[in-house]
């Protein structure tokens, strides 16, 4: 099943995970979370929302629906469509940055 926003289509059944050899290094300050990926040498900045999503992937591989489910548990309420779109865009961003990979 495909979910789409204006700019991209994402397979919501695909399972993604943090690459096992990622070995991310983190620096966290009040305003942002900075992650260094030793495999690519890239440095990325994540806001708290994105950091929370990536932490869910750090717990184990997930497809989009299970990500929604876990996030609902954190927020203790049903996700509205705006939040789902935000999650979708963020996950797509993780994929583009190489922070997650399909299983």
């Amino acid at each position: 099943m495909a979910e789409n926003t204006q700019d991209f289509i994402f397979d919501s059944t695909a399972v993604y995970r943090i690459p096992s050899a990622a070995g991310f290094i983190w620096s966290e300050w009040d305003d942002a979370n900075i992650v260094y990926d030793p495999r690519s040498g890239h440095t990325q900045v994540l806001n708290d929302f994105a950091r929370e999503l990536l932490a869910l992937y750090e717990d184990g591989p997930k497809n989009l629906n299970s990500l929604y489910f876990e996030f609902e548990k954190i927020l203790e309420k049903k996700l509205d469509q705006t939040t789902k779109n935000q999650i979708l865009e963020t996950v797509n961003g993780f994929d583009a940055m190489g922070l997650i990979e399909p299983v």
Binding site: I25, S27, W29, D31, Y36, P38, T43, V45
Partner: protein, 324 residues
Amino acid sequence: MKAISTFHQIDLAAFSDQELDRKLSGEGVQLEIGPFTVNVQLAFKNIRDDFIRIYREYSFYDEPVIHDNYVHIYGRNFYRQHIKPQAFVDVGMNEDFIPLPASMGMVSLEMGLNWQVASACKQYLMFHAGVVAKDGVGIIMPAASGSGKSTLAAGLSYRGWQLHSDEFGLLDLDTEELVPYPRAVSLKNESISVMKKWVSESHDNHLDYFTDEYEGTPKGTICYMRPTIESIEAMHVRTTPNVVILPIFDPTSKPEIRPVTKTMAFFRTVMSSANYGDIGADAFRAISNLIDRSHVCEIVYPTLKDAVNLVEQIVSENVGDKNE
């Protein structure tokens, strides 16, 4: 990598100008600048005169040593050494430099030294930044070319601060200390007259501290300034950095200290580093630790005097107690 310390060191000042001139035009001198030793040979008399004026308070080795680099400035052939002379730069790595008119004096030498450090230094994390230190306070001022960081670093050094560098900040990745590299300060365009006036307020014979002004370079008019004697003598005295200042020169502004986030300071520091990508994870950790322990801010200033006052204010209000 480092020259063997048992070799005998001599101050350039121990030699007469004529002796130095002969060495520079012959086998060269093994000049020590901070952590690097470089063999300098200069085929042109006007460049040797400028070199002696700026570097005569430095130390050099009077015997052959393992030098880190060499810079030889030479004429391609007899004609180009004497007729419309062109200064070729040999840094032992490639021959890609376009020769400069020899009338541009030390520009060719400093260009060669810059290129060597920027392209080959991998043992230190390098920032394109002005760096100064005093009483346990180490300040890194990352900024782009033309932002006034050289002038600010030089201005602070002539008001009691140790000049580490006006554009190459070096950080030891093991100890996370700043490594001084006090070369000639490169002043451009309007900053030349500003610094001449600034130095004249505290030093007699202030013009002895400057080379001729070289017009028509790719960066406009360039003049080199000698670091203070105190900075030269302290070229092996390291300091742990604890302040990061992002300087902005704006002649129409009012002097102001602006807060910046740690994240902004982190990325501005990363962007100023020439070898962050080469060093990788250790560079990330070092900059993260630097930003963690540092007071970070931005300053906007219309004059050098304002900038120096702002820096002194930042230090006294934010890091003074930590060093008592």
